[in-house]
Subunit: 256 residues, 2 copies
Amino acid sequence: MLPKSKEIGSHDRVAAGHDGRDTPPVRGQVRRMVVKGRPESGYKKGDETRQRLLEVALAAFGAAPFSAVTTRQITTAAGVSLPSLQYYFGDKQGLYRACAEAIVDRFRANASAAAGDARKALGGECSPEMARAHLKTVLGAIAGFLIGTKESARWAQFVARELREAGPAFEILYERLWRPGVEVTSRLIARVRGVPDNDPAARVEALLLIGSVLAFQSGRRITLRTMQWSAIGPEELELIRAALDAQIDAIGRNPG
Amino acid sequence: MLPKSKEIGSHDRVAAGHDGRDTPPVRGQVRRMVVKGRPESGYKKGDETRQRLLEVALAAFGAAPFSAVTTRQITTAAGVSLPSLQYYFGDKQGLYRACAEAIVDRFRANASAAAGDARKALGGECSPEMARAHLKTVLGAIAGFLIGTKESARWAQFVARELREAGPAFEILYERLWRPGVEVTSRLIARVRGVPDNDPAARVEALLLIGSVLAFQSGRRITLRTMQWSAIGPEELELIRAALDAQIDAIGRNPG
DNA sequence: CTGAATATCTATCATACGATATATATTGTC
DNA sequence: GACAATATATATCGTATGATAGATATTCAG
């Protein structure tokens, strides 16, 4: 039963607090943890519980930052007892990271279609106007997915916060989600403008566009209030898409 | 020495967290609190301490969410003892709200110049191209202030988070900062496009533009990493401004 | 210089938190 | 059906948190 040391004041603060404590948890063996593979384990019931916990955690961590969500909230809402969390995920951060992994998988499942097409087009030769069309498709898909569905709103909040505040799941999300997304977008923009693939200005434009979409999602509450909308339905989404398309149309064209 | 009442259930939870425990604090009278006026009170030393506390809190709450910042962190960093916080601000949320007020004042001091000009122009007749110029000035000023100065970065983070997550200071920031800003921006855009002042599409475009600027600020960390910049200096700011100007130039012009 | 108003401290409270030890129940394998 | 592996629950630990009580020091008007 390893001494476990646990570092003095472990008590992970999330952001500012993030402070010292960079040593990995090292926590005493976690029974399951299912490190990578999703299903695993011959036993059925356990996976159900794990899933329920994960689902509740996704909602909770989507709606509030790491430190504002308590393990008791999660386990209670999931209808399981407190130690189940440690049993399946080691500790609170383990659960948080598991949420990130789950989100990445679901996001990619939805985005891979449009992104794949665009990537293929970038592989062959591809006229500026074709690139522009792909750009609209890709960003439109992202926007529709991010803004349109209530479910993904939660995940988007999670991702946006984590990338902003460089929390415990930052690396996962950056490498598997953000980087590929910016990559495709900025290469498309570069193609539209006829500049090299890694042109800085194109990258900035990519950030600006993606940032706009995220702003609508992340700031959904304030968007609703500002626009005096009661929800972001198909009509509202259309307005947003139109604004986005206008921005994309402007790329690479001289003013006046 | 008025009991000061201090609003009953002021306890407003910040986000999801913090469980039941809803019994209002009703805490005994707060000695000072200096409800509105900044200086006040013949005694000098007190105001200094109050100011120091506020300054530290601005940095702390700028960098991390409400629940991730502890009162001990703040008071220690400010070099005062724990109860000083209650003495001057009633409780943690009182301090938080005081931060919001302080930020609003400082922001307005910086933005009022450009915004005032634009408002005056909107009052008289104002050609689309003049409106476009004002738009560039206003957004450029906001971007410069928000992204350019290290100090305001903190405040911007605070504001962005609060508006996103509808925390205890939401109303203050929405009414005194966000609303006027969107108002001016969207009216300018409407003027550029020659549509009525309250045109929804213009409002959406305003949200999109402001959202972009905020995204660069709020997501400063990830911007740096994505662009492989070590800081956002004058050169980098210029790239961002250029991207913004391009977007503004695109407003109201037909594609192709 | 005096006395009240103001400011600051030390010590402590009750509670909520994340985590664990440990006992019991459930599941699947042979 | 026996038995190991897996899963869940109860009870509790140590600690960090926000807040308060109450004593003491400082400030300033008269």
